[in-house]
Amino acid sequence: MDTKTLALLTLLFPLIGFIVNGLGSKKLPKSLISLIAVLMPLASFVGTILLFNAFNAQKEVKPLVLAYYDWIAVPGILVSFSLYIDQLTLLMLSFVTGVGTLIHLYSVGYMKEDEGYGKFMAYLNLFMFAMLMLVMGGNYLMMFIGWEGVGLCSFLLIGFWNKNRAYNAAAQKAFVMNRIGDLGLILGVIMIFILWNTSEYKDLQLAVDLSKNTYKVDSWQLVVVTLLLFIGAMGKSAQIPLYTWLPDAMAGPTPVSALIHAATMVTAGIYMVVRSNFLFSLAPTTLTIVLVIAIATALLAASIGIFQNDIKKVLAYSTVSQLGYMFMALGVAAYTSGMFHVVTHAFFKALLFLGAGSVIHALHHEQDIRNMGGLRKYMPITFITFAVGTLAISGIPPFAGFFSKDEILMNLYARNPILWGLALFGSAMTAFYMFRLFFLVFLGDFRGTDEQKHHLHESLLTMTLPLIILAVLSVGGGLLNIPEIFAKGGDKMAQFLAPIYETAKKLNPDLFKPHKISHSTEYALMGVSVAVALISIILAYVVFVAKKAVPKAETEQKGLAKVLARKYYVDELYDAIFVKPIEKFSKFLGDIFEIAIDFFVEGTGQLVKFLGGAFRKLQTGNVGVYVFAIVLGAVIWIAFNWLKSL
């Protein structure tokens, strides 16, 4: 099979799954639905491996551009339906299909009892298709297909239990906030077309190279284009100010949170920026803005995470915060570090969410960590795997998160130690709130009802198997990119991804100068960050295990804690400055302004009617009046002519 067909099949397998399961969701037996739903992403995973081989088998390793047909062809805008396979695509593909398959498998167990099982699995497949389109698309509009497609699936799955109006509201919020970002992205794409006449990644890199004297580094064109693209990333990857949809998105079933709202979709923004590195690298101003927003988001979300009591909300805010870390890396042009964290985060955050799902499942939809505790005894596999995930996200060596986060911290330090300090503060909070969660759920005594306690059980194999695999990956994921001080040539991912930065390196070499941090400093920084994490963990242990403190309800908090528990009142703020005024304006326009315009329209009609009525009165039928009018007219006419002749 040639690569072109292979790539297309890899993309289309999940779509086939969606169509079959979507049409047969009520008719097909559950076992068949499960089989199709899991096999399709698995087939894409296999396809990815084959693509890897085909890619490496090239005589000269270069990106594969596979064009299928002209999608939109108008003079000035030619968009072909094309796929683009390079190192970045392959990296994204492998963890998206890999983690995706595991989560499909998990869902088989988790959603088995749900009446909408077939529909759910079909939606998951559709999501996989959209996500593959996003990473495989050969131009910005192909990416945009996937970009909006994953947004649609996110909408469908957040509001999956659609009888609940609150869930529907969360789904709508997610879709609309994403659309705000999407508008920015599409404007950016339109501008790319105007400036360079193409949006095919391959041609665009050449065009940007050719126009290097017209659009110089940090010229307004490049800054505006990249800022518009970044607005798209803000929406999809939940950065300030467009992050508030993600915590609400936890209304969806937990596998959805793991797949879409942690491991894959929300990292699309990072992927897009890395994909556009040859534009962002030429706009250092934009990178600085990215950096500032990323740090603010990471710290804001982490601080909110400390006071949340819903197990999924804690994880959601941690996702927002971790996405902030990834953008920090991009902000200092350490794209590979950002991608590295995307991958390890996919492992450990999917693990944490699935672990949380296992707990929620065992407790019959209990999500409040104040009603949990002591689950270690009842759910040993969930306990151990969750511990691995927690250690990984807290940055404890040798777990995966340690390596990826440390790389980001190192790059920040190289730029400016203050940045490093802020990021370190964030990771201290991360370790604290994650262990607060972990201790409250798994250690101590069970605080739920006797009824719940009676039913406590470890989850089925379809659910625990993905946990185990993800736990292994969360331990070993760091091996993908080991820092040089530990193993010479261990930075495999950096070597692998190096070719995708060639254009950027050529056009703005200053940005890619290797930093000069001595090995001793590097060891010291690592030591400090590990020590800070350990102190946070000990602190959490003292408070929540030794002292057995149980957090207060969000509504009972006081002072600063109240502000944090209420998420800085950002939702309320948005409601007051955007939602309410627009609704009021809508009412005003619909109820008052429309009538005012119509008044003029009707008024014209009334005027005609009035004049008609008035002139009708002239026709009195009285001959005397007519004669008088004729004479008067004649006199006026004569007088007029006489005056004119003067």
Binding site: Y69, R165, Q172, E583, F585, S586, I597
Partner: protein, 492 residues
């Protein structure tokens, strides 16, 4: 095979149907509309994008005065013709679930309407065009006035007077232009396009024609007849109005405005663009808080048309092609959506969101159709709505790119349709279909076979046009290219 047949088939059919005084009338009407669809598809198949005017008929009407009856199809006509022949059978089929009194008159009028619409889209001489333009108003007026809701008389009368007022200005403009033609005079579009008017005359004539089109589209602030008329008319009339009739006006910009009055169009482009952009945002914002689903769709249509109307005034291929494809897409989506609302209203007796909830429990298949049409309407990529909106916003930004800041601000404001569109469409969808089912929802039933037969082709088109828009873009491209080139030459 010529354009005349496309008019004659529905015209003869309507006469036949008028005489069938039983429920059989609707079936006969359907058969004829399907025959018309077959003819239309045949023409679309035979159509050659680069061959200019095709399938022509040149009949003499009043030879002594140089008034011809010239019909023909080119790249500008083909898209709205496809739209018309495609939609009418499904509009007829969608009415099968309701019983209308005097079905012979009802279905006869729909076919008469189709004949007039095709006439508008094929006429190449001004007075024939005017005849069809006014001719289209009569059947739709009677359908709305005889089978409409409680306020139908007042509302349809306003609609009628308002549009006739516009048409009158258009007629005066046409007569004036006709009088300027040399020799024995001529009302051929191609001859009128050779006339050279000074700037003031162009401007006056521009407004004479444009107000007629602006009322019909409608464009802000000429739209106040529209929400009332849409909500008071019976569903098939609303579909004809929103799906096809408003495209008469958009199409006419391409056929009668730009070729004959290029400078007038160019000079007023900024003003019209502003009105269009205001309409986009204005309609969308009002749609957000409407309770009546038909009014939501009416305002959504108004908002979309605002963007479509901008297309030609961008003087960019991109924008003009965008508006061409968007005509087709919008017609399909809005007809489908009005049908969905009609189905809901038939079953439950309600169409206000405050009365509805949880319909999906009883109607999962309808939910899927609704969702697909909704996605088309909000312009999700790989559905038909995306291509047009993307091209239109691109065209708008390109048109003002000399001032990039303004261009991007205009683009962003017009692009608000992406955001607000999602807000009101999702609100409508979730409001009616989702939530805990209430008492009204117990009446709900899923789509019948006939209804599915209507909605399926519409939904297939939503996807097909999204996946392979080039199929349609190719048809109009050469014509749009010629039109723009010759217009730009004349302006210089």
């Amino acid at each position: 095979m010529t354009a005349l047949w496309l008019i004659l088939v529905p015209l003869i059919a309507s006469i036949i149907v008028f005489f069938i005084r039983s429920e059989q009338a609707k079936k006969v009407a359907l058969v004829f509309s399907l025959l018309e669809l077959a003819l239309g598809l045949w023409i679309a198949y035979k159509f050659e994008a680069f061959a200019g005017m095709q399938f022509e008929n040149k009949l003499l009407w009043i030879p002594s005065a140089g008034i011809a009856f010239h019909l023909g199809i080119d790249g500008l006509s083909i898209i709205p013709i496809i739209l018309t022949v495609f939609l009418v059978p499904f509009i007829i089929l969608s009415a099968f679930g309701n019983t209308y009194e005097k079905p012979n008159v009802f279905y006869g009028l729909i076919l008469l309407m189709q004949a007039s619409l095709i006439g508008v889209f094929t006429a190449q001489s001004a007075f024939a065009y005017y005849l069809f333009w006014e001719g289209a108003l009569i059947p739709i007026y009677f359908i709305a006035a005889l089978w409409g809701g409680a306020n139908r008389i007042r509302v349809t009368f306003k609609f009628f007077i308002y549009t006739v007022f516009g048409s009158l200005l258009m007629l005066i403009a046409f007569v004036y232009m006709y009088m300027q033609t040399p020799g024995n005079h001529s009302d051929e579009a191609s001859i009128l396009a050779l006339l050279q008017f000074d700037k003031t005359t162009q401007n006056v004539l521009f407004w004479g024609l444009f107000i007629a089109f602006a009322i019909k589209m409608p464009i802000f602030p000429f739209h106040t007849w529209q929400p009332d008329t849409y909500s008071e008319s019976p569903a098939p009339a609303t579909m004809l109005l929103s799906g096809i009739m408003l495209k008469m006006a958009i199409y006419s910009l391409y056929r009668w405005l730009l070729p004959i009055l290029p400078a007038g169009t160019f000079n007023n482009a900024f003003l019209v663009t502003m009105l269009g952009i205001i309409g986009v945002v204005y309609g969308a914002i009002i749609a957000i808080k409407q309770d009546d689903m038909k009014r939501i769709l009416a305002y959504s249509s108004f908002s979309h048309v605002g963007l479509m109307s901008i297309g030609l005034f961008t003087f960019q291929y991109v924008g003009m092609q965008g508006s061409m494809i968007q005509m087709l897409a919008h017609g399909i989506n809005i007809v489908g959506l009005f049908f969905v609302v009609d189905i809901i209203q038939r079953r439950t007796g309600f169409r206000n969101l405050s009365d509805l909830a949880g319909l999906t429990q009883k109607a999962p298949v309808l939910t899927v159709f609704f969702a697909i049409l909704l996605l088309g309407s909000v312009g999700l990529p790989l559905t038909n709505g995306f291509v047009g909106e993307f091209l239109l916003i691109s065209g708008l930004i390109r048109a003002y790119w000399a001032e990039p800041t303004f261009a991007l601000i205009f683009g962003a404001i017009a692009g608000l349709t992406l955001i607000f569109g999602a807000v009101y469409m999702i609100r409508m969808f979730q409001g009616a279909m989702f939530g805990e089912p209430n008492a009204n929802a117990s009446q709900m039933k899923d789509v019948t076979f006939t209804e599915a037969l209507t909605l399926t082709p519409l939904c297939i088109m939503v996807i097909l046009m999204g996946v392979y828009p080039n199929l349609f873009l190719k048809m109009s491209e050469p014509a749009v290219r010629d039109l723009l080139q010759s217009a730009m030459e004349k302006i210089r």
